[in-house]
Symmetry: D3
Subunit: 330 residues, 6 copies
């Protein structure tokens, strides 16, 4: 069952100051690439899916390096448009408790943010495809991209694909008002919705004034009533970022186990969750297995450097079984 | 309010074995510079103060590199005397629990330890200055430096500066007897005294045979009676070095919150505390804000590589507000 | 009392992906060498013993580098046979909780696994020697090596040496049946037996169906009855690998303190335990001191990169005294 | 014209001591992958060809890393068989004049050397393919592989492919007698033969006792008479490895220009030559253009780290035009 | 004679792939900063001048790191405006013969390119200053900056400063027509003109159809007639970039010696030439000394990593004396 | 013929700025150890000699690391006295043409410079030894060491050892007058004298005002008349440090071939020459073979990082045979 999953978004050059220095101190930065949907695409390819990433990259050494980073992990890059001026970039300073990790973005005017409808031939892209995934970052990049996302969603439904969306609200890219206008429209085409308590406001589910637990339950209630989705899921870091737990609604609400974390790299854990969720639904995992698989994948990502979750299905399953570490595997 | 603060001490070449190796194993060492007062000077410059560091450095590539390390962070180095034969050095092996971090010094005969009175023109140095800071390491370097410190203290008071001193007793540099003789004399000119329970003995406040808490209170009582200082402060690591808390007396005794720690680099945390204390007093923070600002700065330093505390005022304030980590800042 | 200890085993090239990357991601791997008995030999040389390591290495740059790694730490390498085709190798991916560390071996057809009896002249090797140590890995490498081990054990007893064996069962090298047949024979010559609860089954002590504590006590009872050993010892990691504790029987059963751990490198901790045990017995430590010395050495190894335990006797003793970390040693 | 080229060979893990150290000295080794035919495959993919690499790799992290290294550069890896025990490896010590670069191999018993006929379905592999390339290393790995090569050659001709072979004689893998027996048979199916003066002896063209120039001309004469090939080509380093020049026969003999070299990495230059030759023939370059294109590609490879030639067609053409360096391109 | 020199331009983040890899291959990039005028400013500060660099940098970690890079080497950064969105960036792939070094720029929309007149208070900046230097890159960044440059030139002349300009034509920033219109106007205020044969066309001196030598002489003739400058100078790399030679006209034409080169870093050599020229003129070197000093500084820069020339006056003078290398200085 | 050679001198910590940076720029320094006689000792151990290095090192981590660096390469360190305060150190900035390599020393007050006679028991050291080697650096370290050298020389002759001395005059350690007084006395015990034209003045052979060639011949004449040595040898770098040639007198004067150089590390080449000379004389090479062996060893050292010559006898002989490079050895 080698299903074809299409992801659509922007991939950024990531500079990570080497050796735990701050950017100011660092004599060198580790070079990698990442972005919410690209991270999902890489994880799915690693799980053995036919993973196709759609984006736009300039025809220079930075764009080529981004494309190669995806190919390396088995992602099909044949639908990436080439052109435009630059690859967006961000600096990740890891930070250590009590310091937070800090992302400094320089992504304006990237090739992807300047993409236009003719860069993407959705009919060809969706041919024989099974699933379409995007996050709220993609429509936030430009009004044109918001329109392209809408076309893509419509085309996906026409081709019979399942559509998933990680709301992923980023206040640096757009304000709540603009996000709401766009996302509410897009989410009318979404089957699987990944959205945390804070982000649910974007979709109108702002009822957190009450106690958090029942608040989130009421949000889910609100979302399932107002949107046509059949699955709603979220993951959260607990206990000063030393553990992760996920929740899913697909008729009833189920919680995953609490998985311990040791954070080597905090970025991309939500994307690891989305990818595992997609994989689990495609492979018809039952609800408990599904939410634990997705939560365990999210937990594992914290121990892997870079944006990409490179843990295999076997490794995720092993964590689910062991409920934690097992020392040295010889 | 861009006050001018003078710090006076020795800056050392620091070799830190790269990649968590021990010195013996390490194929390479990270090169940096640090020293108690230099660390204070860098933190103050980073806080936007007019920070002037006074010392002596040889006129070779190692001395120049030390000077550049200070300039990089905005410290005024125009009063650093040039001459003498060598820059002192130390190796820092970080260690991991249950191993301690270990400093191995090779600082004898440094340019600063051989400085003489004519290297420093205190009248020019203190012109339009507001504050003078030194630690007990400076007078420990040589009898001449002890005399120079005394002259500097007297000149500072004549110029109307506030004087602060971090007792910083180092048994490898001098014994308790010599330290007591010198420090008791110097502390007669000190307004702001940073001294922990152990070091208070240097100043005659040796009453720890009783229970620690009341012992320290009695030490403060002793110090305020026997020395003219108006502020006494200290910071301590708690719970196997996983948290920090500070205490201050400026009329009454106040404790800071307990801040969690993740130690990337254990050196310079006390100096970060001193710098934040100086900054807070200059900016007329009220006592509770002051001691929390200083404790938070100390806690943050543990997550920053090298001797220098490079966390900004904003970062310190954010930690005070958050009382801990906040995951990824995007 | 500079006793001569002979260790016999295989040393492997170890590739550790640099900078906490996985092997797949890593642009470079740290190069080191290690192996159960070699690790014991290095620790003993560091403790000041006359430590002689016996093995076989090919006459190429990889074999020479392995030999130099031992010489660097003072091990006598004059009885290492040269010849054969290759040095076995393993990749260590450190892993982070909740990920386990993973060893990937490529050790088939190593020079040592192809060694033959004439490579080792036990009469010369054991001349004026006091102790012979090997682990269950050595006889697992080939049937010939199993026979050589038997000859060595017999020769050791003839020369009046104390013999120690770390059972170290590795299911990738041989199955339980073969291991049992060989190890039960070899252990008839062993005075000091290092064996954990799981491995005790190799020697026929399979009684863990009951509660673990009494199960292990019954195992020890079984072993002391069925084998001529005078000391049985084991060490275990507790609390999700954040602490270590050891147990010894040398007439009565004694437990060590629980030592906290911060794992920089998880490999070689058992070997550090063996070496410290040998050192302690040779130096006639009383039982409590002995088992704490060995447990503390094991705990310290977790903070040292590479296979080798480079902590000195002083450092181990300091940990025993402090029962944990002491911050920065200046 | 996106022709499909099949390459067949072994890819090795390459360890290159970092920072110009020797292996013995090096604390770390750069990790890369390479092998004669894999190098050709990567270069062809970089030239935009549909490049398919056929080999066998074990199903472990080392095998996967090798496969990812190929995917990264756009090589189709879908026909790589998975299984067997290990990836062969070699250490490359770069060396500096007057030192030579030294390769130390540890490749026995690799997965590829133990491959069997059913690992490769030539009918599927050659479907819609245009070209088949292998080097003399592949049949040297095992008698079985020699037979597989013969089957592949026959199948290639049946499918109408052009066949190229780089004789690449390696005395460490087989002796002249065995090599001759196998290669003479295989070369009956070869259209494009890459063979230098020394290697021509393998094919029976041993006539170098005379003056070298006419000797090589007579070798070509011999080869074209005794083998059905239509192109014979070779490249050589001149002037203490500071320049490269190539020669081709495709009816008449033509020499390329002499291209200057600065050797950052000496391995894979011959493979770069083969790949460029294949590209040029497929693109119907005229003889002069062809041999200069191939020689320039070979020259450029010397400036690129690792086994793979990553210089693009544009870069090669630019070198052909400039006949040397042009300083900084802004 | 500690003269005050003002430089005005843009400083970029420079990413240099580490360890001689191409950008695509590189796991990490060295992080540094550079830009034509910033390079001049750093060199002048290193020569002991009062060097003031004027630019605009965003108020984020990248802007701060750029500013610190300048402070480290003693440049006065107090007139750098803070604001705008990003620091421009470029990737430098060093290249090896026969490969060229390649700069890939991503500098659009930088803070400096969006600077406006009120960011720079020329009256304050030029107070007590002696010299003003800029290159043709600054006015190329935006039409506004071209106007600001014109204002700066006029203000500089009003304050009695000497004005120098390095024409530095970059076709990626503006075309010949626009450059000519702007530069011809600006050069009416320039006293010291650095311009090579190719760039002289920007100023109307296009007469290279004849033989190069007399062509350049005629260019100088043209320039001195059409512009009010009193000094014209240029430097060129010779013999495949293995040597450098400079020429100057300050009444008569003089050539420097030919200095050999070993290129560790090819960027910033022209800026090193400008800085040395400015230093030499300020220190009233006679013409022969001046042009040799500037050429030697340019030659030395090739051996120094990064954009900045960190060679001291003594080192430059020593090279002038030695006319080449002298082995190991002990 | 495994002869025992005693070398006596000081070993220093060497810091080499990593990645071709200057010390000022470098974020890290490679850590190694070296010193004239230690370099000879390591080379001799690598040639298979019984090589004993005598020195004094402090009992701290730096001293231990120095000792381990020697053990790693097979040097017998059992006669190294432990004690004193520090290990001397030097920084090596490699430099690139036209820059020179620069050594910056910080070696005053090292443990070795403060050694006293009772640190070395020459009777035990020279027991069954064959050769004693030292350089002029050892007696330059202190008047006490000059006296110890004299005692050692006398004891060496009493025990029937051959004595060799590399004059190695260092003006930073002592002036010509002091050096002459000491060295002329010591050289009365020297059998094999390594001294270049410049250094010969120390021994009174100052006759270079004439043409260099005949001057050096006259120096040799002078030295053989005034000192009891039977061999005099020297090596020189030619052609801007791109080649090396050696000369020897052992009755008649013979020159070596000219060996080409590529300098990766310029330090220790003279010591490599001394070691090869000692090896060659012990192995009774005839004069031509001897001087070529020593010159080739010196040439090879330039391509090896660090102070130590790690090239084997085979590698040296291969260079002698090949008279230059041979490309890739597979």
């Amino acid at each position: 069952m080698n299903k074809k999953v299409i992801t659509f978004g922007e991939i950024l050059l990531r500079l990570t100051p080497a050796d735990n220095f701050s950017f100011e101190q660092a004599p060198a930065c580790e070079k990698s690439f990442g972005g919410s949907e690209a991270n999902v695409a890489v994880a799915l390819a690693g799980y053995g899916m036919n993973s196709v990433y759609v984006s736009k990259l300039p025809d220079n050494i930075i764009g080529q390096a981004a494309l190669n980073a995806l190919r390396r992990y088995g992602v099909d890059t044949s639908f990436i448009a080439r052109g435009g001026s630059r690859v967006g970039m961000y600096v990740l300073e890891k930070g250590f408790s009590p310091c937070s990790a800090v992302c400094t973005y320089d992504r304006a005017d990237s090739a992807m943010s300047q993409a236009c409808p003719k860069d993407f031939n959705w009919r060809k892209i969706f041919d024989r495809a099974d699933w379409f995934h995007f996050s709220g970052i993609t429509p936030a990049l430009s009004p044109t991209l918001a329109r392209i996302c809408l076309s893509a969603c419509k085309a996906a439904k026409e081709h019979g694909l399942t559509v998933s969306c990680d709301v992923n609200y980023r206040s640096k890219l757009w304000d709540m008002e603009k996000a709401s206008a766009v996302m509410r429209q897009l989410c009318r085409y979404v089957d699987v919705l990944i959205v945390n308590e804070e982000e649910a406001k974007v979709l109108g589910a702002d009822m957190t004034e009450e106690d958090p637990v029942s608040g989130f339950h009421r949000q889910i209630e609100f979302l399932q009533k107002n949107y046509p989705c059949s699955v709603i899921a979220a993951v959260a870091r607990l206990n000063d970022n030393t553990a992760a737990q996920a929740v899913i609604w697909d008729g009833t609400i189920r919680y995953s186990q609490v998985y311990p974390l040791h954070t080597v790299d905090p970025v991309g854990a939500g994307d690891a969750f989305c990818a595992a969720l997609i994989y689990g639904i495609i492979h018809r995992m039952h609800t408990d297995e599904l939410i634990n698989f997705a939560a365990a994948a999210c937990a594992l990502k914290h121990g892997i450097k870079g944006d990409f979750n490179l843990a295999s299905v076997d490794t995720v399953r092993q964590l689910m079984k062991n409920n934690g570490h097992t020392g040295v595997q010889r």
